[in-house]
């Protein structure tokens, strides 16, 4: 009777080990895949920006600095090709800079009704909103998946298997840029800009 009970316990433990290990591996791959998705969306955004800048350039001679900032941030972001644990931080810094440059550009476009009157800009605005959303949602999915993965590998009793599955805590994609964190200033005075 005793050996049978022992065998039973062994089988249960083995089954749990396999399930926990496979669960961790599945989550790890999901996290990697979610990270690749961000890359895809960022690449898409890099490709879109030259078109956008060309479309507004003619009408925006007087806002050269804003456009320059966007182009520069874009080129900076394309250049970053880091890998490893530091990679995420570097990429996210460059991309966040690009995001805020784009946001400034959108605000500027809003201020020129003659720019918005041409139908092209409406479409471009939609495209840009969508692109920004896609990047944001890809980031959200990555963070959600990575959080789930991190929680799982730290939680008892899965934490025992974490070493076996070579699980490392995944870095979250954080918003570091102060400008993006801060609450935007809303001016309701309707005064014309000087």
């Amino acid at each position: 009777m005793a050996p049978l009970a022992f065998l039973l316990v062994l089988v249960v433990v083995a089954a749990w080990l396999i399930a926990a290990y496979n669960g961790l591996i599945a989550l790890k791959n999901q996290t990697l895949n979610a990270f690749k998705q961000i890359d895809v969306q960022l690449k898409r955004r890099h490709d879109l920006i030259p078109n956008l800048v060309n479309a507004v350039r003619g009408a925006m001679d007087f806002e050269k600095s804003t456009l320059e900032a966007v182009i520069q941030a874009r080129n900076q972001a394309v250049k970053v090709n880091a890998t490893g644990p530091e990679g995420i931080k570097q990429i996210s810094r460059a991309e966040n800079a690009l995001s805020s440059a784009l946001q400034r550009l959108m605000v500027v476009v809003e201020q020129y009704p003659q720019l918005r009157a041409t139908g092209n800009i409406g479409q471009l605005q939609e495209e840009l909103t969508s692109t920004e959303n896609k990047v944001a949602f890809a980031r959200q999915l990555y963070n959600d998946t990575a959080t789930q993965y991190n929680t799982k590998q730290q939680q008892f009793p899965t934490s025992f298997v974490a070493g076996l599955a070579k699980a490392q805590p995944a870095d979250l994609w954080e918003i570091e840029d102060q400008g993006e964190k801060a609450v935007p200033q809303v001016d309701l005075s309707l005064k014309p800009k000087t």
Partner: protein, 333 residues
């Protein structure tokens, strides 16, 4: 996504896979019962017939009907989504023409990224009443359809909420169960209509011998189950869809992080009085809001519980608002 939510998702997917199997098995078993039951009754009737008369010994009806039911179920699985879309007269957006269509395509792409599923195919139903539904067999083969009314009435954020709700159905495999149900309910109704037309005139055979009470009872049960088949199928369709709507609302909030947008979209959908005429009863349980009018879903109670395909709108909106305010409170801190 908290750990609990993801666990919930896997449980929901498993439950939906299981329920689809049970549904198909039940469908085939029901037809087997009709077939073999008929065989047995026929056998009992012809048992005492004279030697040279026909004796019903081999269960042809049972085998035939079971095979037919299996074939129908397989056919429904393969073509269910197309049939549902066809019944609503939806047209696919392959390459968007208007700004609104462009926006819809963009929003679906965004929400597919947020949900982590492949982009579904996108359809528009030319109906001024706002409504939306999803169909398909799994996330790789899925379709999202919205009415023109949704495009006209909703803002971008609200559209996002509605699309995310539908993608919630796709992700937790609700679409598989509900599409199968729609297809099988349709098949039962069609066959019932067809056979009752055949059975009615030729029913009474001029047999003067008295059948035994056992045969009579069997016959009565058998006929009653024929008559009840479409009603049972309809009730089944009503029962499965209500709880899912709350869950899909919650998933929408998780994907968009903006439950208030879906709440206001639901309010607009509720406010539109006209029924969605393009969506027939057979596909009603697939929709975000009951397309057959909103009277039954305005309150919760015994009557509404038994007959409505959807939970009360006011309750759904209240739950979403609760989520929204909790989120705001957390951000303030």
């Amino acid at each position: 996504m908290s750990d609990e939510a993801s666990l919930n998702l896997f449980q929901q997917q498993d439950a939906n896979r299981r329920r689809t199997v049970v549904l198909v098995a039940g469908f085939v078993a029901f037809f087997a019962w009709l077939g073999f039951g008929g065989d047995y009754i026929y056998y009992l009737i012809t048992r005492d017939a004279p030697r040279q008369a026909y004796h019903h010994a081999f269960p042809w009806f049972g085998i035939g009907l079971s095979l037919a039911a299996a074939a129908i179920a397989w056919y429904a699985y393969r073509t269910g989504p197309q049939k549902v879309l066809w019944s609503t007269g939806a047209r696919e957006i392959v390459d968007p023409r208007t700004d609104k269509e462009r926006q819809l395509v963009n929003v679906v792409e965004e929400m597919a990224i947020a949900a982590g599923v492949p982009r579904p195919r996108i359809w528009i139903v030319d109906d001024p009443d706002p409504n939306a539904f999803a169909t398909g067999t799994d996330p790789l083969h899925s379709h999202i359809a919205v009415t023109q009314g949704v495009l006209d009435l909703c803002t971008r954020d609200e559209l996002q909420g509605v699309v995310a709700h539908e993608l919630g159905h796709v992700k937790n495999l609700d679409v598989r169960l509900m599409t199968m149900l729609a297809a099988l309910v349709g098949a039962v109704a069609l066959m019932h209509d067809g056979t009752s037309r055949v059975l009615r005139p030729g029913g009474g055979s001029s047999d003067e011998r008295k059948p035994s009470p056992l045969v009579l009872i069997l016959l009565v049960v058998w006929i009653v189950s024929w008559i009840l088949a479409p009603i049972i199928a309809q009730l089944l369709a009503l029962g499965v869809s209500r709880k899912r709507e709350y869950l899909a609302d919650a998933m929408s909030a998780q994907f968009t992080r903006n439950p208030l947008a879906l709440a206001s979209a639901l309010q607009k959908i509720e406010g539109a009085e006209a029924p969605t005429t393009h969506i027939k009863r057979g596909a009603a349980h697939l929709c975000i809001a009951d397309p057959l009018g909103r009277r039954l879903t305005s309150h919760e109670g015994l009557f509404a519980d038994a007959l409505a395909t959807h939970p009360p709108m006011a309750k759904r909106i209240a739950i979403l608002r609760g989520m929204g305010y909790a989120q705001l409170k957390q951000e303030k801190r």
